[in-house]
């Protein structure tokens, strides 16, 4: 049974079409890496699945139910959580308050404050710190922890390593490791292809709002993905 199915999704920003008729499905526990150049429509696709962006047409089905028209906060109750690009923490609130405020409104489940702190031990000494004062890596950990506090069944991670030092990226992925083995369904947007291939079971490469390449991560190598990433093979595909 598919936990998520996206059918012919089209999203616009005014006149600009950011996502052009994308369709794909995900099975429970699958980890999908979304790659593609800036402006390919990855963030808009994630935001539409989370309910933060209203699609112009198409359908998003979650757990067998059509959620296309559902507001984002209601999708959280169903089990969809988005870690937004740029982390978007409540900067004036402490780490603990950021986590608790999410815990108070999400689904009930195994993720609570101690569980999140076990997964992200680097947050333990920072619980009472203003989240705006944290380092980039700690902020990303808090943002992921905040999403986990809502006990998602589908976790959407947008640009996890953007603006982080290589060391901080390693640490965040190390913490994500346990999560990825726990059976949570995850869509992750990652610019680092090597890492995207390593953590995911499947890869979708987007180009100008459409899917340029899709396949099992193990079966795809970097050259093929890079070609799709830059649209290099399109000429041969569409040639008569």
């Amino acid at each position: 049974m598919n936990i998520l199915s996206v059918e012919n999704l089209e999203c616009r920003h005014g006149l600009l079409v950011a996502v052009r008729g994308i369709s794909f499905t995900m099975a429970e526990g699958e980890i999908l890496a979304l790659v593609g150049a800036n402006g390919a429509g990855k963030t808009t696709l994630l935001r539409s699945i989370a309910g933060a962006h209203n699609p112009a047409s198409g359908r998003v089905t979650f757990d067998g139910q059509d959620v296309t028209k559902l507001r984002a906060y209601k999708r959280v109750a169903r089990g969809i959580a988005l870690v937004p690009e740029g982390r978007r923490l409540f900067a004036d609130m402490t780490v603990e308050e950021n986590l608790r405020v999410a815990g108070a409104h999400g689904r009930k489940g195994t993720w609570d404050l101690p569980a999140v702190l076990d997964a992200f031990p680097q947050l333990k000494p920072k619980l009472k710190a203003r989240s705006g004062d944290l380092s980039g890596g700690q902020q990303q950990a808090t943002a992921i922890g905040r999403a986990l506090m809502t006990n998602p069944r589908l976790l959407l991670l947008d640009e996890v390593s953007l603006g982080l030092s290589p060391l901080a990226v390693d640490q965040v992925y190390e913490s994500l490791n346990g999560l990825m083995n726990s059976g949570t369904t995850i869509i992750i947007v990652e610019q680092d292809l090597r890492r995207a291939i390593a953590v995911s079971s499947r890869i979708i490469c987007m180009l100008e709002g459409a899917i340029a390449l899709e396949g099992a991560s193990a079966a795809l190598d970097r050259e093929v993905i890079t070609a799709a990433y830059f649209g290099l093979h399109r000429q041969t595909d569409t040639a008569p």
């Binding site: 989370a50 309910g51 933060a52 507001r71 984002a72 906060y73 959280v76 109750a77 959580a81 988005l82 937004p84 978007r88 409540f90 900067a91 004036d92 609130m93 308050e97 950021n98 608790r100 405020v101 999410a102 108070a104 409104h105 999400g106 689904r107 905040r146 999403a147 506090m149 809502t150």
Partner: protein
Amino acid sequence: MNFLNQIIQGVLLGGFYALLACGLSFMFGVMRIINLAHGSLAILAAFLLMGFCNYTNLSPFIGLLLVLPVMALLGWALQFTVLDRSLRAGPLIPVLSTFGVAVILDNSMFEVYGANSQSLGPNIGNLAYNSWNLTNTISIAQLDALVFVTAVVVLGGLQIILRYTALGRTIRATASDPAVVDLIGVNARMVYAAAAAMAMVMIGLAGAFLAMRNSFDPYAGGPQLIFAFETIVIGGLGSLWGTLVGGIVLGVAQNIGATISPHGFLIAGHLTFLVVLVARTFGGRIAWRALLPKRAAS
């Protein structure tokens, strides 16, 4: 000695201004709405309370038990009928729509209650004039003291709610980023409704005390809005205890002005407001920080 008395009375008056301003400040802090109907809503609460007292012959303090929940409901309704729609249309629209609400309220109250000045002073017995005499020249009116204590309790209570309760955390998170709270399962519109209801309870309290201390009429809301504004600007936007400080500064300035000249009361208040506003805008932020390091940092 007279001077000291004026300062003490000014501080007490500042308590009333703080109470008057906290609803306005809270609503702006959470929803980014400048509620121009603030003063008129306070007068509405005063009239509702007067209606209750005239009908039942009970004390206004008992009437508050009914009027404050009614005000909260009105705030809830105001959010879904006016504020929410205007907010979606852009940041300036709420200014216009709340101004419209103020005009409608003022004129409706004029239609219903007439132009006569009213007061709840007669309804609170000797609380209206009893005082504690500290010295021969200095005495503290019990009602003024009650208002001041109420202001401190309201501001303190608000701070405790915002800092230590789940509702408070949700309100702060929503104030910080209404688009993101959606992503953690919070319906921002309901949070706004709760905030509007809370602000209206504060407005109701301010209106009640206004009616007990002074006389009021259907068009008395405008001046109260101005005092609330001046209090917030002097005290610093978004700072709860700054609101109390702002009220005290305004009250003391007005009372000292009144000692200097019979017309000095309002002029001194407005001048103080202008001086603070100009100092904040042009007065060199560095100098301001050196004077008040804590406020500049917040």
